[in-house]
Symmetry: C2
Subunit: 353 residues, 2 copies
Amino acid sequence: MTAPDPAALTCPAPLREVERVLLGHGSGGRLSAELIGDVLVPALGRAAPPGPLEDAAVFTVGDTDLAISTDAYVVSPLFFAGGDIGSLAVHGTVNDLAMRAAMPLALTVAYVVEEGFALADLRRVAASVGAAACAAGVPVVTGDTKVVGRGAADGLFVVSTGVGRRLPGAAPSAAGAAAGDAVLLSGPIGCHGTTVLSAREGLGFDAEIGSDTRPLHRLVEAMVAAGGTAVHALRDPTRGGIASALNEIARDSHIGVEVVERDLPVPEPVHAACELLGLDPAQVANEGCLIAFVAPDRADEVLAAMRSRPEGREAVRIGTATGVDPGRVVIRTGVGSRRVLDMLVGEQLPRIC
Amino acid sequence: MTAPDPAALTCPAPLREVERVLLGHGSGGRLSAELIGDVLVPALGRAAPPGPLEDAAVFTVGDTDLAISTDAYVVSPLFFAGGDIGSLAVHGTVNDLAMRAAMPLALTVAYVVEEGFALADLRRVAASVGAAACAAGVPVVTGDTKVVGRGAADGLFVVSTGVGRRLPGAAPSAAGAAAGDAVLLSGPIGCHGTTVLSAREGLGFDAEIGSDTRPLHRLVEAMVAAGGTAVHALRDPTRGGIASALNEIARDSHIGVEVVERDLPVPEPVHAACELLGLDPAQVANEGCLIAFVAPDRADEVLAAMRSRPEGREAVRIGTATGVDPGRVVIRTGVGSRRVLDMLVGEQLPRIC
């Protein structure tokens, strides 16, 4: 037996696997942030948006500040307790505008439909879009519909875009929070994610809970009326839950955040579902609540304004922004210990919105 | 043998098939118009847009007229001679705004990506979006990315939305054309559709031609500078080709249209491809030309302005708007006969844009 010729063992093609998009790249967690920050935004070159990535971008026309936001919805199943892909698309876009203190002026809706999709279901989704838009007081001014062959899409995807006008005297930004700010939360967490997961997997929790999907712009209007520029940062904790929202604000505002675990409002069915599935409620998606960083001397007024609205009735203070450990979010547990609340790395609940 | 009991022959469930979405519902032809007009828009209820459906919707903020348009792109293959899904998305949205005489202010881009899609291809598409946006002079201000599991989408879909500001002194509308108007066309037809089809099917025509995808807003700016309000109607003849564009304007403006066949600029490779495939070049998609209806006394000036721009260098007059047979488009053939140029009913070239 002769020794093998080392040259013959050399692979002619590099063995490194082609880099591919993973489910986690759409998670709203750290992989998402990397895809956006390392791939998508740099590739845009000079056409890239300036500054930190926000729920909506702000631009000025004449002397009016406008905001614009776009969101793709791929939720599965399309219909679930408390909502469907249509209402979700409208609320999600209205809420992204609201997080920049912008009230919606116009929405657009694009559908990508798989051949063979039931027309009755498409009609039902479109009616849900219409009802949600009416309730939010914003017209759907235009749209687009594309049909792809069987197997080229999973039923229906919806992409909504909204344009809004910013409230005068308010400029909340993910980069605007300051040490000392009170961290407020407008309502219970975890309902949307656990409901959709339960509906998809047939777990039965959605008999007790439903998605919290709803528009939040009127809540923001009330908060800004009460707090003005003291409302430093707003974010709706969708994909990635309050963990992602708090970490993004901590990162962009260069602050630490300390959250008190026992002050987090987690409904009992959400708690039970998360126990069963090994999920942290702080990392589960919401579609109808918001987190606010408010200057401490105005926090009580803003909290009172939130509680005066139906969608903020259960608003609570959950923590404080600090000057230590910028970019880090910690949770103080019931027994007095502290643990870091990290952003999810990858995908916990695919196709949750 | 006994006679069958008629009651036993009654089917317990209705035999009528469930209505389903067909590929043709995304064609840009008559089935598309029915889906939008009979299903999607009525379902919106009070949130529905007023008036005829246009390439972009117009709304007013303060004393500024803005336009907004959204488009879903599902083209297959993603890369083809002359462009890709990224440049197509930017140009398509810029052009829809331009058809309402609006110059682009801001774009958004949403990606729906299939798990396993090559990151290099995503980077290439994002770079193409960036390059096209830079060339058009408009920033991509925000976006969204969702990932769905393998088999739940075909690689990549892109949805772009644009907001633009209308040029003062211009208000083109699909409902604005009048009998007597000159019908102008900015360049050769059929290149995009035949290129994509050739790339998909490996027909080889795309060695000779390429997609005409390009932005048309500066062409429109020049036309409006020359013709002002005499530029009555503009449409870019994408899905469904000039046949759909002309029929939509004829319908919405209650006019007849007569087109002279020999004046239609059909490049030889497009002609050859259409002959082989049994297509009418007038029904094939374009992504870089426009049709204009212009008051007759200003048509020569507008045509000269079009020819002064690279993207309008081959602009021609192709016909006239008439007062007879409102809603009908006829073609005068080389031998002097006339035939009706209909909108496509269903899908001729699926996933062409």
